[in-house]
């Protein structure tokens, strides 16, 4: 019902299955615009008269002041290129008596984009903490209403919107569960698409340096072969994130499993040691195979620079093997000194055991917390780990896993290098993206004052994840 006469529907294909893409060609073919409509990836409301109740599967979304009801919407915008010229949130009131209200509510930004659709209750609700986007006046039943959210939705990404009302006679909107005809919509229009139809365009090579790699890599299976084939087509420095070989980190395993696969790129590889590497005492298989690229075998931590603006810190989270990771340990003191003297505006750190992970098999590891703290204190940008055999990306967070858009460090778990996948357990706060069924590598393009990440999946698989964040 939002298509106008001149609009031509071209494609409804979208990776997330959530977007209806409509391409528009204006007469003359000079200027082009594209409109993409997204439905929420999650929506729910909470009610202070039923404080422990979740309504995530409800077809209705209530907003009210008596009882107090707040509603939450989350959209993932993807596949949009060019400048967003317009973003409109559209909500439809329910076709039942009482859905109408003197106030449709106040719509505000939310910084929390990882709340759970089926776990959110009045007692456990995200904060509606951002700027007001708009307010709806009186709403009738069975009708569409629009809020301009162009100031918020500026490109690909995940957006949360919270709605509150001061009316004691609240409004009821249709949720995504009501079906595509009445589900909330985010209509995103871009004005500077360079081709008549929306196509996935690969940006030209920027010449910026690339880091690419993963952890939990080589065993008798075929996952390592699949990820090594990806490296064949990606230039740059290769990193590993530990557990380079299974099961015991022996020289024989390095020769049998790692060398024929990731070993093709050994000359450009700077590795990380994992617990399986240390199953051989002193990780002598690991240090013997990688030689000086792995740093001092009594330490296993080292750093290097990439390009003109980036500093890379490799740490050793096998803490007991090197005298600990605690504050005041040799490694932690070295880290603080190294960060202070690096003189580079952007920093990425990597090791094996994740400080934060939603994986079912290895709990978040507090022993590396002093290293995370040192990195945060020194304004580092990225932390890469492995250990749980899956991919997970966190929002920029402080050392306590609280969202921190000013100084927060983005944590990744990239245990997707080839060893058999693990499942997920309880999903942690601020976990933005997860995958446990695709082998792949993380490619980081290191710009002068920002980084672009891209999960590159094994051949034949479609899961991917990408984005750009500025250094701080």
């Amino acid at each position: 019902m939002f298509r106008r006469k001149a609009f031509t529907a071209v494609s409804a294909a979208a990776a997330a299955g959530a977007a209806l893409i409509t391409a528009v060609t204006l007469s003359g073919g000079v200027a082009n615009a594209a409109t993409t409509t997204f439905t929420p990836v999650a929506d729910t409301y909470v009610d202070n008269s039923t404080t422990g109740t979740n309504y995530g599967t409800s077809a209705q979304l209530g907003v009210d002041n008596s009882p107090v009801k707040r509603l939450f919407l989350r959209f993932t915008v993807s596949g949009v290129s060019g400048t967003v010229t317009s973003a409109k949130l559209r909500v439809h009131t329910d076709d039942v008596a009482g859905a109408e209200s003197p106030s449709g509510g106040t719509f505000r930004r939310m910084s929390n984009t990882t709340w759970s659709e089926t776990g959110t209750t009045w007692n456990a609700q995200p904060s509606i903490d951002g700027a007001t986007l708009g307010t709806l006046g009186s709403v009738a039943r069975n009708a569409w209403y629009e809020v301009d959210v162009t100031s918020y939705v500026t490109g690909n990404g995940t957006y949360s919107i919270g709605v509150t009302s001061t009316a004691t006679d609240g409004a009821d909107f249709d949720a995504r569960e009501s079906g595509s005809a009445t589900a909330p919509q985010l209509v995103v229009t871009t004005g500077t698409v360079s081709s008549p139809s929306p196509t996935v365009t690969t940006p030209p090579p920027s010449g910026d340096p690339v880091l690419v790699g993963a952890g939990d890599i080589a065993d008798s299976g075929s996952g390592d072969t699949a990820t090594a084939a990806l490296l064949d087509n990606i230039p740059g420095t290769v990193f590993t994130l530990g557990d380079n070989v299974y099961t015991n980190g022996t020289a024989s395993e390095f020769n049998s499993y790692y060398n024929p696969t990731w070993g093709r790129h050994k000359a450009r590889t700077r590795p990380v040691a994992g617990n399986h590497d240390y199953n051989t005492s002193g990780a002598t298989g690991y240090y013997g195979y990688f030689g000086s690229s792995a740093g001092d075998p009594t330490k296993g931590y080292y750093s290097y620079n990439v390009g003109t603006n980036w500093h890379v810190v490799v740490l050793n989270s096998n803490c007991s093997a090197i005298g600990g990771c605690n504050a005041g340990s040799a490694q932690e003191r070295w880290l603080r000194s190294d960060l202070t003297t690096s003189g580079r505006p952007c920093t990425v750190a990597m090791w094996h055991h994740p400080r934060y992970t939603s994986g079912a098999n290895h709990a978040p590891d507090t022993s590396v917390a002093p290293l995370v703290q040192a990195l945060y204190d020194n304004n580092a940008d990225l932390i890469l780990t492995g250990h749980n055999h899956q991919y997970e990306r966190f929002a920029p967070i402080n050392p306590s896993n609280q969202l921190d858009t000013t100084r927060g460090i983005r944590h990744f778990v990239v245990g997707s290098g080839g060893a058999g996948h693990y499942s997920f357990g309880t999903i942690l706060a601020n976990s933005e993206v997860r995958n446990s069924d695709t082998y792949g590598v993380l490619k980081l393009t290191l710009h002068a004052s920002s980084y672009t990440w891209q999960f590159v999946p094994q051949s034949g698989r479609t899961f991917t994840d990408s984005g750009t964040t500025n250094c701080h």
Partner: protein, 332 residues
């Protein structure tokens, strides 16, 4: 899930009943009392409707949904469990293990007041409460994390909440394998299910590269093997059938299929679920099996399927796992 208009009206009516105070709060009443002060309308937080409830975990938080509308509104508590089960007023929870803290079994009453706590080592995996609420049985991974690999080890234990007898590992029990007394340090047990007498139980015994269904006698401290390639058994409420997972082609690396074994005729019926299920199934009633599956992004979903091999699978509770038909909260 889309609610029909009629269903929505029904929910509204049920909600009205709740507002009238017709239902009893599931979660701790202390919190409800405190929260009531903060509310405009002084009514307790309560499940929508007062019929039987299904207990589940919502991203690791103990929750309940209405058995009549399992895809509808749910009550979510603050209690964190890696695995949970409930029967006849006994709620069991295997608490998450931290990096420096081990897991523990918490046995609670229906108002979630703790009656017993058992410190344990390992990663929570399976958990059951017998139908009477008396026996609690659990499985933990000690080494490794997957039934699909080799080299993992598990530990299955049982607590008799009436006598306090605690069996930390079924490996203490005497094994009769293929009719002969058997000992092997490689023995691993997992997936316990109890019969109505609270003494007889079934479980999985893995040893010598084979995975057996065993029948056990808790009082006697014995188990005997019944048949091969039966894992994570679950006895039907009427005690006549066992739902279980069996490795495809006997190879756990190929995944598992859900089947039901008729204990009288020994006939095996594969269920309509064709995806690989690595869970201990549960019986919602004598005709319906429930189990959890996880999608690639870590989202758990509870599905159900008819126990007689007919029909199709049904998404029962989105965004949840660890299902347990826990009875009516009003009866607690």
């Amino acid at each position: 899930m889309t609610l029909s208009l009629r269903a929505r009206v029904l929910v509204t009516v049920l909600a009205a009943l709740v507002l009238a105070g017709a239902a009893v709060a599931y979660a701790a009443s202390a919190r409800s009392a405190k929260a009531a002060k903060d509310r405009l309308a002084a009514v307790p937080s309560a499940p929508v409707g007062n019929g039987p409830r299904l207990q589940v975990l919502t991203n690791g938080r103990l929750s309940t949904v209405s058995s009549a509308d399992p895809g509808g509104p749910r009550e979510v508590t603050a209690l964190a469990c890696d695995r949970a089960y409930a029967a006849a007023g006994t709620v069991a929870c295997l608490k998450p293990a931290g990096p420096l803290s081990a897991t523990s079994l918490s046995v609670m009453d229906a108002s979630l007041k703790e009656r017993a706590s058992v410190p344990l080592r390992g990663f929570p995996n399976r958990l059951r409460v017998s139908a009477s609420g008396r026996m609690v049985a659990w499985t933990l991974f000690i080494d490794g994390h997957s039934y699909a690999t080799t080299g993992f080890s598990t530990q299955a234990g049982i607590l008799d909440t009436r006598t306090g007898r605690l069996v930390k590992s079924l490996e203490e029990f005497t094994i009769t394998l293929d009719g002969r007394t058997y000992r092997n340090p490689d023995a691993n047990f997992w997936g316990v299910t109890f019969a109505a007498d609270d003494n007889r139980f079934y479980a999985t015994l893995s040893t010598g590269g084979r995975r057996h269904l065993v029948e056990g006698d808790f009082a006697a401290g014995t188990v005997r093997t019944l048949r091969d390639n039966v894992e994570c058994p679950s006895l039907s409420p009427d005690g006549t059938h066992i739902a279980y997972k069996s490795a495809i082609g006997g190879d756990p690396k190929k995944g598992w299929r859900l089947s039901v074994l008729d204990l009288t005729s020994r006939r095996v019926t594969p269920l309509a679920e064709t995806r690989s299920v690595d869970d201990q199934p549960t019986w919602l009633d004598d005709h319906t099996i429930a189990y959890a599956l996880q999608t690639g992004d870590g989202t758990n979903n509870i599905w159900s399927v008819p126990a007689d091999g007919s029909g199709t699978t049904r998404l029962l509770v989105p965004g949840a796992n660890s299902p347990a038909p826990s009875g009516s909260p009003a009866s607690r």
